[in-house]
């Protein structure tokens, strides 16, 4: 069994101004378009321009939020970098395919090929920090970030004196978006099915010790591709931590507005959490494989500030206290994930 880990700093780029230091989900940009690109910070404030030139959007977002997390944690470096990304560096993948289809046989620019490698975000962070430690990238659909987080829990149990940057990043791609429309993934005007596709990165500094300060604690994480019974999955997870649903103070649910798949949240909310405050995050952050990392960013802020952004409250029940919050997400009926966060 794994042990809890402590989060000392976090950074988040999303379709809301989450990269701004004092932002706490009080004001929102609303979007008519689908997909929605991330709001980008001034990357040069944290990344030298000569490094930026060889970085695609995933790499920039990952490195920037990793540096924000380090700043907040008051650290210069870490011992390991563990990343989750559902689709990796999608734009460069598209660029290289398009180059092949147009020009195979003529000289092809190698840069998009190199930058399409899924582990480039993790590599970029390591290169920028000069971190020669453990470096891993998980590419497993909507459990990519959860996989990275689970590895982090195991790694810090193996090495309790070390620290890790753990995060999730995903970017949009133009042609891939068209494919998603054809595959009926995306929400169209006025429809109550489909997702709002977005992108972003969220990174955290984690260690096994609370130390002088921590934003919060990740106690446990579990995923299941398709549980037989979601309620059993949730109760079993809590039981393994010696807890029941009554020990929770709030839940963060991955409701995303896709009527085909949101029903599981209604059912679980009714059966497991009827009296708990229920928050949501995907309606303002959109949907992508690693958006749960942004959900964790939000939850850590809730725990640190001991306050819940009213606009994200789904069921109108206000919290009595905020010490233990469960994050439950899934995407298109698969990759059910549970993350338990505590003060």
């Amino acid at each position: 069994m794994t042990k809890p880990i402590y989060i000392h700093g976090g950074g988040c780029i999303s379709i809301q101004p989450t990269f701004q230091p004092d932002y706490f989900f009080d004001t929102f940009h609303s979007y008519a378009s689908n997909p929605v690109p991330a709001l980008e910070p001034d990357y040069k404030s944290l990344i030298p321009p000569l490094q930026l030139r060889r970085m695609n959007k995933s790499m920039r977002m990952a490195l920037f939020t990793a540096r924000q997390a380090l700043l907040q944690a008051g650290r210069e470096n870490v011992d390991g970098v563990i990343v989750g990304s559902g689709l990796g560096c999608l734009r460069d993948s598209e660029r290289f395919v398009e180059a092949i289809l147009a020009e195979e046989g003529q000289p092809l620019n190698p840069t998009p090929f190199i930058q399409s490698t899924h582990n480039m975000a993790a590599a970029t962070i390591a290169l920028s920090l000069g971190c020669k430690g453990y470096n891993m990238t998980y590419v497993n659909n909507a459990s990519s970030f959860e996989s990275a987080l689970l590895d982090t829990l195991v790694y810090l149990m193996e090495h309790p004196d070390r620290s890790v940057l753990v995060g999730g990043v995903d970017e949009l791609g133009d042609r891939t978006t068209l494919f998603w429309e054809l595959a009926d993934y995306l929400k169209k005007d006025g429809s109550d099915t489909g997702e709002t596709a977005a992108e972003g990165a969220s990174f955290f500094v984690a260690s096994a010790e609370r130390g002088e300060s921590a934003l919060g604690k990740v106690t446990a994480v579990e995923c299941c591709v398709q549980p037989h019974d979601v309620e059993d999955f949730i109760r079993g997870f809590l039981r393994r931590q010696g807890l029941g649903v009554d020990d929770l103070d709030a839940v963060l649910l991955g409701v995303n507005g896709d009527g085909r798949y949101d029903a599981v949240y209604e059912s679980v909310a009714r059966r497991c959490f009827p009296r708990l405050p229920q928050m949501v995050f995907k309606p303002i952050l959109g949907e992508y494989d690693t958006v749960t990392a942004a959900g964790v960013f939000l939850t850590l802020q809730v725990l640190a500030r001991q306050s819940l952004p009213p606009a994200l409250l789904y069921n109108g029940i206000h919290p009595a206290r905020l010490q233990r919050i469960l994050v439950y997400t899934q995407r298109r009926g698969r990759n059910h994930g549970l993350i338990l966060l505590e003060q």
Binding site: P49, L50, R53, R54, P107, N109, P110
Partner: protein, 84 residues
């Protein structure tokens, strides 16, 4: 000749994504690799592609690039000598 060096500078800035530099910032004789501009092996490959696509010159061995790409001036000289 200086037209070619100006053209090369613009192409290099574009191809290698040197966003923050302008043509005036690049000196004809500054070393491109190592000290100087600090380009690396991937940039060298991109320059080889540029030589082929823009000037019809093929370098089959990346190691040939080391001398050709020393400075903007050496590139220009090589292109003048070999372009099709």
């Amino acid at each position: 000749m200086s037209e070619l060096t100006q053209e090369l500078k613009a192409k290099i800035i574009n191809q290698l994504n040197l966003e923050d530099l302008s043509v005036d910032d690049l000196d004809d004789n500054t070393p491109l690799f190592g000290e100087g501009l600090g380009l690396d092996s991937i940039d060298a490959l991109e320059l080889i592609v540029m030589l082929d696509k823009s000037y019809g010159i093929k370098l089959s061995d990346p190691k040939e690039g080391r001398n050709v790409f020393k400075t903007i001036q050496t590139m220009a000289d090589f292109i003048e000598a070999n372009r099709k």
